[in-house]
């Protein structure tokens, strides 16, 4: 049952990716990439990674879709590039893909109990969390307690990224340019 579900999800994932390649209308491409993210989230659920699935669904299928739609509204609706049957990009894609697949041969199988990630600090966190922190979600315990300093770095990255986008795209002033934009947008809505 689980195997059939996983296979179905992977087939749908590949079909979505192929559809994205051949689409020319960017609106459809954006919606399909949202579908792609949602399928990824379902796959993570099948792999019991609920926290990752949650993030993928909220960020990948939710926020990125909205931001891509916002980008389309500012730029163009359809891909202007003509199909270019050059061999070089195909060669690069095949080469990089081949190297990546070659790299996976060294990785442990999914759920392998002897995988490095399951033999070093993992069991330690699982054993110490009920005693030291006493919360059921070990992921939260690792992120917020044992690796709190790493999480501080992540929040700082999010902060810096938001600040950068704001300064670049919102003209940094909150002044006349943006207010004029608001009126135009609201007039159309």
């Amino acid at each position: 049952m689980e195997l059939a579900l996983t296979l179905l999800l992977y087939v749908a994932l590949v079909a979505t990716a192929i559809a994205i390649i051949f689409m020319r209308r960017l609106f459809a491409v954006v919606i399909l990439s949202g579908v792609f993210s949602l399928l990824c989230a379902l796959l993570y659920i099948v792999m019991d990674a609920a926290d990752v699935a949650f993030t993928e669904a909220a960020v990948g299928a939710g926020i990125s879709t909205i931001l891509m739609l916002g980008t389309i509204a500012l730029t163009a609706r359809s891909e202007s590039l003509k199909f270019n049957p050059s061999k070089v990009p195909l060669g690069v894609v095949l080469l990089v893909g081949g190297v990546l697949i070659y790299g996976t041969w060294d990785m442990p199988n999914f759920g392998d109990p002897t995988a490095p990630v399951l033999t070093h600090v993992g069991p330690d966190y699982l054993a110490r969390t009920p005693v030291e922190v006493d919360i059921p979600n070990v992921v939260t315990a690792v992120l917020a307690t044992y690796r709190a300093f790493d999480t501080l770095g992540e929040v700082a990255v999010v902060f810096t990224a938001g600040l950068g986008v704001w300064l670049l795209l919102a003209n940094g002033t909150g002044g006349a340019t943006r207010r004029r934009g608001d009126q135009q947008k609201d007039g159309k809505n």
Partner: protein, 145 residues
């Protein structure tokens, strides 16, 4: 989007539960999947849905630019100050055990505090990025999609 009656009605129904769910993910993150990061995104999605379907002007009347920019900094500040407080109380940076309750209680207090900081910053950054994108004059009309 005045003519999208179904979109507007569904949005009215959905915004409340989405915000409530964001709060649930924020404060239930220790017990179920999720935490500050996911909660911040979900909470922002509620507002973004409202702003997309109704209008940016109405959204900015509720959540103005300056408020968002203050929250962007406030979240990170809550996180950093939590660490400074643990240092002042004699522990290492972000060592919650010195927060004064029982060892487990101190850990919970520390986790809730920093998760709140994460949630606030992520929510505000998502809103800031959304504002930055949609505040610019669009080149497409509603019917052009």
């Amino acid at each position: 989007m005045d003519h999208h009656l179904i979109l507007r009605s569904v949005t009215r129904l959905l915004v409340g539960p989405i915000l409530l769910y964001g709060l649930y993910v924020q404060f239930h993150g220790e017990y179920g999947p999720g935490g500050g990061f996911q909660a911040g995104v979900i909470f922002a999605v509620g507002f973004i849905l409202y702003g997309t379907v109704f209008s940016l002007r109405r959204l900015k009347a509720i959540v103005p630019d300056w408020f968002i920019m203050a929250l962007v900094a406030l979240g990170l500040l809550i996180y950093v100050v939590t660490g400074v407080v643990t240092m002042v109380l004699g522990g290492n940076y972000l060592d919650y055990n010195v927060l004064g309750l029982s060892p487990i209680g101190s850990q919970h207090l520390g986790i809730i505090s920093i998760e709140l900081g994460v949630g606030i910053t992520v929510f505000a950054v998502m809103m800031a990025v959304y504002y930055a994108f949609v505040s610019r004059p669009p080149s497409l009309d509603d019917k052009d999609w």
